[in-house]
Structures are given as C-alpha cells and as structure tokens.
C-alpha cells in the first residue's frame, strides 16, 4: 500500500492526511510553519517576484518554515514545471531563514516521484504528500494506525499534518513515538497545545497570533492564551462565512496583513468585489482589519 521508490515514497489510498518525509532519521521541523499562497498576477500567471517580500514578512511574524504547493497554494492547479519553479523560488527567497517543505502529492505517482527528486536536488528541508484525490481508498484505517504502519514501511516517514477537527484522533497520533504531529486546524490550537502538540501549519496572517498564543501557554498563562485563541476564533468565524478555501484566505491576507498575493486560478474563483467588500466590512466591524500588519 505504501511503496518506496528509489529512495522516495508515495502515500497511497488515504484521504485527508498529509505526511512529511525527510532522509534525516531524527528530523523534526521547527514549530511554526506557514502554508503560503502562490502569488499570482491578474492574468493568472505566477508572480515570482513577490516571494522575497512574502518571505521577509513571514520571518518577521515568527514563522520558522513554509509548507509550499499545498491546498492554500493551489498546488493541484499548477503544472509540474510551475511547482518546481515555485520550490526553487521559495528556497532562494528564504535564504536559509525558513525551512522549506515541498508538497509533492499529485494523482500520478510518476509525477510525485519527479517532484520529490527535484525537491531533494534543490535542497528542500523535507517533502510532504497528500494522498491522491481521484481514486479514493476502498477501506480506510484510522490515522494513528496508518502512521504506525507507514513508519515501518517508509524509512523517511517523519511526521503528519493533522487537518481533521477530531481532537481524539490528534491526541491518539501524538502518542506515537518518533512521529511529529503538526496541527492543521488553527481554530483549535489551544485545545491542541493543552494536549502537548505545539507544531502548527497555519495561514500567512496568523504568525504573530500563533506565536503569542504558544508563548503565553508556555508561560502558564491560560487566561491570556484563551484570550488570544478567541481572536483567532473570531477571524476564522468570518473566514468560514465566506467559504474558507484559498480564494477566501488570499483576500483575507490582503485585509488583515496588507499583502496582495493576487487572484486565484480556476477552478477556484476570485471573490467578487461585493464579497470582498462585505468581508472587509466584517473584519473592520470586528476590529480585526489590519491586525496582522507589520508595525
């Protein structure tokens, strides 16, 4: 089920899980990772020149790494060549300041192998892979069991981005030895911290909030952590009112951080002007517009 191919591996037939792989045996990513958007120009082509500014912003808001070409980056809407070039641009623009995890999941194992080899060649920190989206598994084991099985078969299997909202499943996975679990659901980061799970993959505009929440929690100040979680909660309540996918979040990055990463590519559609203005008003009314801007 989980074959290794010439040193690379490919996760098959399991949905809604994202595994992280590295050749280093004791590999752990640093704890605050951004899932950046792919900056685009109005004609839908990729805006590579924006990535340097983007990386600077992320470093300044406490991010320690980027998880590129995933869902928020519309990775599945990019060609193989575009994905490779994005990986190169991020490594170049990070210039050692951010760990770069390259998502190589596709529907086609040969394509994923090609992306994995490329990531290794250009010096990515790690690769990650979602399972194929077209063919669904006929049976599905639970996430903890999946990880335990995978770790036996795949020498480079190192971690998991847990994106289901299920706390018991997150808790379960966090008990697997030598497995790094990253939270993929920032709206319940506090509920994860209390279970001992600190690593997180979150949105571009949540760097400072996430950092402050973790810092307060580690200082033992539950009340303060709770207050910060409420801010994140309010942000996400507005987010999900407008759908919640990359099309929404790209617009949110603009409203909350002042960063313009452009439109999305089909099959996603850019927010209409009306949707954008309504959302902006919601954030403004909640006192949240501009909250993630650099001072």
């Amino acid at each position: 089920m989980i074959p290794t191919y010439r040193g690379y591996c490919m996760i098959t037939q399991l949905s809604r899980r994202l595994v992280i792989m590295s050749k280093l045996a004791n590999f752990h990513v640093k704890e605050q990772i951004c899932a950046p958007f792919t900056p685009m120009k109005d004609d839908g082509e990729i805006n590579h020149s924006f990535v340097k500014t983007y990386a600077d912003y992320l470093v300044q808001t406490h991010f320690t790494g980027v998880f590129i070409n995933g869902s928020m980056a519309e990775g599945s809407s990019l060609t193989l060549d575009e994905r490779k070039r994005m990986a190169e641009t991020w490594i170049e623009s990070s210039d050692g300041r951010l760990e770069v995890i390259v998502h190589v999941g596709t529907n086609c194992i040969k394509d994923s192998q090609e992306l994995a080899k490329h990531a290794e060649k250009i010096g990515a920190t790690a690769i990650a892979a979602f399972s194929p989206s077209y063919y669904k598994p006929e049976n599905e084991v639970n996430t903890r069991k999946f990880c335990e099985l995978a770790m036996k078969k795949i020498p480079s299997f190192r971690g998991l981005k847990h994106s289901k909202r299920e706390m018991p499943s997150l808790h379960d996975c966090s008990m697997v030895e030598n497995l790094q679990v990253l939270v993929g659901t920032d709206f319940q980061y506090l509920s994860s911290l209390v279970l001992g799970v600190k690593g997180i993959v979150t949105a571009s505009y949540l760097g400072n909030i996430t950092y402050d929440m973790r810092t307060a929690f580690e200082a033992g100040d539950i009340e303060k952590t709770r207050d910060i979680q409420k801010i994140s909660h309010r942000i996400n309540n507005i987010r999900f009112k407008y759908g919640g996918s990359a099309r929404t979040c790209k617009a949110m990055f603009n409203i909350l951080s002042g960063m313009d990463v452009g439109p999305v590519r089909l099959p996603l559609r850019k927010l209409t002007t009306e949707e954008f203005e309504n959302m902006k008003k919601d954030f403004t009314d909640a006192g949240l517009a501009g909250i993630a801007k650099l001072k």
Copy 2:
C-alpha cells in the same frame, strides 16, 4: 420553529443538539452530570430496585446530577409510562443528593409535552430535549445561532449539551451570554476545560476520573490533567473498538466499576459473550479493569 406550548417547549427540526430547560431564570446545573443507563433485568423489563444502589455509587464518585432517559438510557426504546416511572424512581432514589434532569425528547410533540408536564409535577430539576429523529430539518443553522434564536423564543431555555466533536462550535457556544454549555464528549474534556467549559455530561464509570481531571486543571497542573485525560482516552479507544453505544457502555460499567445494569433492549443487542470477554481482556491488558470500583 421553536414554539412554546402551554409553558413547555419543544425543540424542532434540529439534530444532534440537546437543550436544557428550566423555569428558573438563573438556572445552572452543577458541573458533573452522569447520563445513567436504564438498569434492566434479563427479560428486558426495567430493574427499578437497582436505582438506589446506582445513585449511591454516583454520589460517591463525585456526580452532582443525572441526565435520565437519554441515549445511554435507551430512552427512545422505553414507553411513555416507563419513562415517567424511571423519572419518579430517580428522584426518589437520589433523595436530594443528585439533580435530576429529565430528557423528554420524542418524535411526537404531544408525547414530549406529556413527559414535560410529568417531570414538572414530580419535581425534576430541569427538562432536556433532543430534536425529533425521524423528520430531519430541511435547513440547519449553526449551533451558536440556534441557541441565540432559541433563547429569544423560549423563556425557559437555559443550556446546551454539546455532543459534536467540533471544538470551534463548542467554543462558539461558550461565548453566548447566560447559556450554560455542557461537554458531551468526555474524550476531549481537557480540550474543553482549557476553553473554559467545565460542566460535563459523562458516563457512569468516569466520575472519579472526570473529577480528578477538573481538580488538577483548576490547580494549574496541566501535566497531571493531561495524564488523567490519557486514561480517559485509553478507555474510550477500547470503547469505540466495540461500537460505543449503550450496549457497549453497559458492559463497560460492569468491567470498570463492577456494577451490573443488565442487558439492553431491542433494537440494541447485548454484547455476545465473546465480545464481552474480548473487551474485558482489552481492559485488563490495559490495566483498566476495575479502575472505577469504589474502594
């Protein structure tokens, strides 16, 4: 959508929510509530004489109330007369030591009204109602919004047992003023405590564990709370391996607490001897058998 009928009310068209109602304006239940099983004899008839022993056990394991005739009690499998008599027996056997919340939800509004009137007459602490299970709502508002709407229309609406696993939804509801939110998912109690939600409706065998968890948390000892949550987590992992409904939990009560509440009634089926022995072995191997026995 949420009509009040001659002083009683009935929640309509909303699934997986359980609301709590009382005539007292500032009503709050005490924080540790048990959802007891209905003790049955081998012939499937109700074993009323066991309830006194049961109530004693619950009091001794820190429970402050019982939530009767709900899912764990197979309330929907009992006749109206049986439900009324159970309510009477619990109030009698509790003898003031436990708050008694009577679940009056049915598929038929006239039946629920009858149960509600009876609960009031016999002095129940509060009533609660699940929405009808046969006709499903055509649209569903989110839980927080539902509560806000309901509180305006139903003067006696006081609280909510939140049984979805969704932390953001629980968090959302906990922000509604004058609404008491009770956690219905004990396997994530720690993740709820950290959000400020303490009240819980839990299984008969989890009294001491729940109490110890809350006590450690309130003393600021996160590590200890986390360790206790792990015990609850391990108990529930075995539970869900065997299905998780009343048929499983009645057997668990026997294995963990030494209390025999008998079989279940159709459409549920008692565990087979083999299932029971396998589950018992799982608990024994995990060092958990007898963990909830009185010392």
Copy 3:
C-alpha cells in the same frame, strides 16, 4: 437481529426499508397503494370526518389500498392512541373497498407490538414496519440479503416497499422468490415497470396517472407510457423544488386534486402562504394544477 415476539415481529437496526407482514402465507397486496396524509384541522388535531371523502376519492382514482400512518401521514408525530384511531377510521371508511396496511414502526418495540396487536384485532389487511430511527444499525447488509435473512426468521414477512432510488437494488430484490416488491419512488415507475415490478405505493394525487402508466405499459405502448411518466416527472420536479416531504405534498394534494387535508404537525411546518402561492403558480404555469381532480 429480527426477533419475533408473541406472534408479532419487529424489524431492528435497518434503515430506509419498509417491510410488509401478514399472517397469510401467500399474501400479496393489490398493486396500486396510496400512502395517504393524515387530515388535520387548523388546531393540529386530526380531522377524522374527512377520511370517508378521502377514501371515496382514492377508490375513484384506481387505488386498491392504503398504507397508513407512514411518513406521508406523519405517523411518527402521532401518539399511539391517535395512530390506533386512524387505523380504525380508515378501515371503517374504506368499508372493504381498499386494503388497509397499517404502519406500526416506532422507536420502541413495546409500542410497535401494541400497534401490531391492535391492527390485527381491528382486521387490518397487513402491517408494515420501518426500522427505528433513533438508534442506527452498526452494520448494514444489502437490501436483498436483508430480505432473504428476514424471510427465514419471520414467518409473516411478505414484502418490501423499496424507497431507495437505486434501480439495481430494486432489480435485485425483485428476484427474491415469494417476496412482493413495491416501488416507493413514483418518479421512476416506468424504469421499474420495465424490470417487471408493478406494485407501487404512491401519493394521493397520482392515482390516475399511475394507473394509466401501468395500463399503457401492459398494452405494450412504450411511447405512451413514457409520455405519462413525463407528467409524473414534471410533477415531482416541482415537488422537490419545495422540499418534498409531507408538508409539501399535503399542499400539492390541494393544488392538484382540490382536496384539503389541512396543515402538518410540528416538527414539520405548513408551507407559508408565499411558498404555497409560488408552488401553485409553478403548477399552473406547467398546466398541471387541477390535473388530479375528479371529473
């Protein structure tokens, strides 16, 4: 799984199936059955005096039987006493002109046994039972297999109302020997007829259309049958635009047949005046209003 109790039987743990039972070994219902609404007065009480007129209408539109106290009759919203009295009223009003099948499904096996005994006592043609709606089965066998198992265990098991839209499943069941399969999905009656399944349980306003469709089909006139199926299809397209449950269909009966069976009971809600007028306009625009009126 499917116990018999003192001569009666109860189907457990299986959803979306409705089985038909009779004590006669070679029992078959006649082929055109109506699932009538429960006539109600504006105060939500049952309007028994309308049933005679209703039965007359059904007989005149080629119905051979009624399937009472089911979904369209809001059976789950009626008390046990109301259900019993409805059964009596239908048998009385039918006066031998219609076979009367009494739905006895509830969430509580004792209640279903009581309804079954009553149905037998008053001379119902057969009983039928949906599975409980509150506790869902943990595993589900496929429908054909279910019937084969049930027929071995339940001597009085005679037939099935197949309400899923799955043609292969209907086809499958139709191959079980000595099992009468009734179509519950009138919008695909032609697709069922061609597979050899003639018996149908349908809405009050579709008597003549169903009869004409079957008659044309049996005369070998596929073109004509197809034309009539299109009328039924257009009626159902408007129906589902407005939800499709008893609340919609009661209003449709008024618009299509001129018969006023009153409002629905909570948790269903009567169509608003605006919804009613919109639906009426849709039927009028489609040339369908009044199509089921007696000439």
Copy 4:
C-alpha cells in the same frame, strides 16, 4: 464558471459529471462506446503494442467508439506525456473503425488545455472532461441546469456521460434539446432505454450484451431485453462484491473475455491471487466465465 480558453473549454467546479465537446455543431457520437482500460506490463509501464488487438476485439463486439484516458483507463494516474501517447495509439489502432473521444480532465486547467490541443491536433473525434477532483465546488447546481448553463457558454459543449444512478436526473437531462446523454451505468441500461436514452459508455466485456439488449428492446421484445439485463445485473453483482473500480474490472476482462490487459498502477492495487481466484470461481459458478469471448 465555465470559461472557454483559446477555443478549448474546461468544466469547473462540478463533480461526477463528464461532458463531451466537439467543434462540430451537430455532433453526436455513435451509440455504443467503450471505456477501455490502459493495458499495462508487469512493471507498470504502458503496453502500447496490445492496443491493436484490443481495438479489433472492440470492433468485433459492436463497439462504435472508445472513451479513453478516463476512470477505467486510470487516466489520472498517467503523466501528460503518457496520456498523449495513448491518444495517438488509439487513433492509430482504431484506424477509422472506432470514434475516439479523449478525456482531458485534470486538476490543472493548463494541463487540460494542453491535452485538448493535442487531441485536436491528432484528429480525435471529440474531447471530454471530468471536473477537477481536488477542489470541490462550494455550491452545486443540478445536472440538467448545469448542462443548460454550459451549453450557453461553451459553443462546443455537446453531451454528457451520466454516471449517477439517479434515474430522475438522467430523465431530466434527456429532455434538454440538442444535448446527447450517454448512460454511464450499464447495470440499469434497460431502465434508461425505456426512457429513450440509447447511447452508452460501458465496460470492454459488455459489447455483445449491450448490443443484444438494445436490439431486443428496439424490436419491442421487453421479455428478452429483461433477460439480457439480468445477465448484466449478475455480472455487476459479482463486480461490486470485489470493489468495482479499474482494478476489479481489468481482472474481469480477463475472466469474461480472455483478454489480458495487465495490472493497475498505484494508487490502485492489482487483485491478489486469492481475490482473483475467488472472483473467477464466482463467475464460473454463475456460468459467466468466458461469456464475452469471441467465438
């Protein structure tokens, strides 16, 4: 929502629909189309040399066209170059005897555009596209409405392969003028024929059966058509017992037709020897093994 790009078009945000496009205004495909498998060697590479034999077989079993690189062909598991080369091989091997419809759906609009241009260049009869599988639509219109909207926006939109089991939806679509509807669910072909829908996309081993069914139906012999449908029904009952996807059907092609198209590619897995032998035994016991062999 449905943009045209430089003469090509791409269907966005709609799942489980497959649309067929051609530059010819009055385009209709002939009525019996095969969805062939991609022949593979034991090392997982494509076996191009088998396609000529395959095409001969299809022509001899009454197929008039092939629908290539779709689900049964594991199109999503092939690289762009492999998909292009398969299209070339099929056009070459068909040598005018079969219409060749090339599936160009991917998750990436640029990739689909590239495949569409290539298909046109090499003289494919038409192209077809599934919607992206990774990003799901936030809202979904019904299939008939989708087609009506698409036909207005996409000049080359010609038809639909209807793969849902919903007869009312198929019926609905069949009423759209100038839209060719093809049945994608062979286990209910008779139920579609009776509604006037003749065109079908079916499995490699069902050519003669499908042809015989349609011929009998057109001759007005319902009994005979029903008997042939039963054979198809029995074949599919065994198919779905073993999952039903390309991994099952490739093995079935071997058992039923004697044609060996080799293994599947990851993420699908070849049947184990035990699964294969069990399935073969099931077909042999049912008298169906070899039923699709050329005489």
